[in-house]
């Protein structure tokens, strides 16, 4: 029989543990910030682009702030797990979250999110920018987007990763802007997409540059256009989609750091400066470039504008494509 003593002991331990709390709540005093390691919540698993870029930038950033940056992976559809974890933390600048343009898509894709991103999170700065690429199989001989579209027209087959992803929605947008009733075939992962291209199952592939950089360098896939506003410095001879003749078709993905609403503006300002400094260093710029990503900070206001604009943009695309929402 369990003694009353042991029962009491268990009870007290749990009580203590529950009250133990946050190792002494850190104050929201900007002068003493940061006073302990800063958590960075990443809504993806390790090894992905967001994870890798943030880890690379996180180190020098931690050095500059005087406290380590601790990465915390909380993957899960729509970034819900990550955002929920984020909002459970205090607004003292010791917990940050990475938002991506995927977050703006999730705003429409998930009808009842238990939180309001635009109200409960405030921007700190953008960190990385990347565009998508339109690729064909080199064996097919196409060298420009125009001739591909002229040849294939509505028979065009485009491979992307899963519906609801930036890549897939970009393909939907492409259909509208290019005026072709192409068939979009979704695959699970970028390697599957590449496989489809190698097998000539599809004519065109739309995916992030980073994901297919290897294939491009190996000459397994030929880029016909990039979706950014300006040409990608890693592939200066590849035109933008606009230059290639598709009007009003610009898609740029981004990663940005956000804090919880209520965080002191001084902390945010300091973070913003430090991030801008880190991203301006040659080391980070080069390493990001190797990944096919542009390191560029911006101001919180600019970032928020971008967030809101993207939410609108993708809402339109999702609704006109008739994609289901949760």
């Amino acid at each position: 029989m369990m003694t009353r003593r042991t029962l009491l002991f268990l009870f007290l331990t749990s009580l203590l543990a529950a009250c133990g709390g946050d190792n002494g709540a850190a104050s929201n005093d900007p002068a003493s910030w940061p006073s302990k390691p800063v958590r960075l919540i990443i809504p993806f698993g390790p090894g992905g682009l967001a994870d890798v870029t943030l880890r690379l930038a996180g180190e020098p950033l931690g050095d500059a702030l005087g406290e380590r940056l601790v990465m915390e992976n909380r993957p899960g559809a729509g970034g819900v797990a990550a955002t929920t974890t984020m909002l459970n933390a205090d607004a003292d600048g010791h917990t940050l979250i990475v938002l991506t343009n995927g977050t703006t898509i999730a705003e429409t894709l998930f009808d009842d999110l238990p939180y309001n991103i635009t109200a409960e999170l405030v921007p700190v700065s953008a960190v990385a920018w990347f565009d998508l690429v339109l690729l064909v199989n080199p064996d097919t001989g196409y060298t420009d987007l125009g001739s591909l579209l002229a040849d294939k027209g509505d028979d065009l087959r485009i491979a992307t990763i899963n519906p609801g992803s930036t890549q897939n929605l970009t393909a939907e947008l492409f259909k509208t802007r290019a005026g072709v009733d192409a068939t979009i075939i979704p695959y699970r992962t970028t390697p599957d997409v590449l496989g489809a291209l190698l097998r000539n199952e599809v004519d065109l592939v739309i995916d992030a540059y980073t994901a297919l950089k290897g294939a491009i360098d190996n000459n397994q896939a030929r880029p016909l256009a990039v979706t950014g506003e300006v040409r990608n410095p890693a592939m200066p001879e590849v035109p933008t989609a606009t230059e290639a003749g598709i009007a009003d078709f610009v898609v740029t993905g981004w990663n940005a750091l956000y804090a919880k609403a209520g965080t002191s503006p001084e902390i945010i300002a300091r973070l913003n400066t430090e991030i801008a400094n880190v991203l301006a260093t040659d080391d980070i710029r080069t390493r990001f470039e190797e990944l096919g990503v542009e390191a560029r900070a911006n101001s919180p206001e600019e970032m928020q504008q971008r967030l809101l604009a993207d939410i609108e943009k993708w809402r339109e695309v999702i609704q006109s494509a008739g994609i289901d929402t949760l």
Binding site: S14, A17, G21
Partner: protein, 156 residues
């Protein structure tokens, strides 16, 4: 009446529940776009599977009448009567872990989980269990949280 329930009806419960699951799945699947065989929508496959499951369960109920639960403890086939205590203890222990891990921290969750699971056996040896709990919690913390970086705090 209760004997009928216990001996005849209760053993068929899993099959019935399975059939019910198939039915529910099929009905839900119907609300998705079903499409046709050569142009399947998201609802086609689940609907087909739901129907198959219901049919299989019906076949099972028809062809294989369930033997009532026996109380003998021989090797094959016989099923031990259901005992509440171990079931409740194990369930409670995992639930405790789920509830405590992120809110009260790694150690509280681990200790409560081990302690509750010990209740599964009739005469728990509390001293050894507590020692085991502390050992597991410490070792687990060192390996999973410190070394591998699982984001759980030690306390709170």
């Amino acid at each position: 009446m209760t004997r009928f329930f216990k001996q005849q009806l209760l053993p068929t419960l899993p099959t019935l529940l399975l059939a019910l699951t198939g039915l529910a799945a099929g009905i839900t699947a119907f609300t998705y776009d079903v499409g046709s065989f050569t142009d399947m929508g998201p609802g086609f496959f689940p609907l087909a599977l739901g129907i198959i499951l219901v049919l299989l369960c019906a076949l099972i109920l028809w062809r294989e009448p369930e033997a009532p639960e026996t109380t003998s403890s021989d090797e094959k086939g016989a099923v031990h009567p259901f005992a509440w205590r171990p079931f409740a203890a194990v369930s409670a222990s995992i639930l405790a872990w789920v509830l405590l891990a992120e809110t009260a921290g790694f150690f509280a969750a681990a200790i409560c989980q081990v302690a509750l699971s010990a209740l599964a056996l009739p005469e728990p040896r509390w001293r050894s269990i507590i020692i085991l709990a502390v050992l597991l919690a410490t070792g687990g913390y060192l390996l999973f949280v410190m070394q591998l970086g699982v984001p759980l705090s030690a306390i709170g």
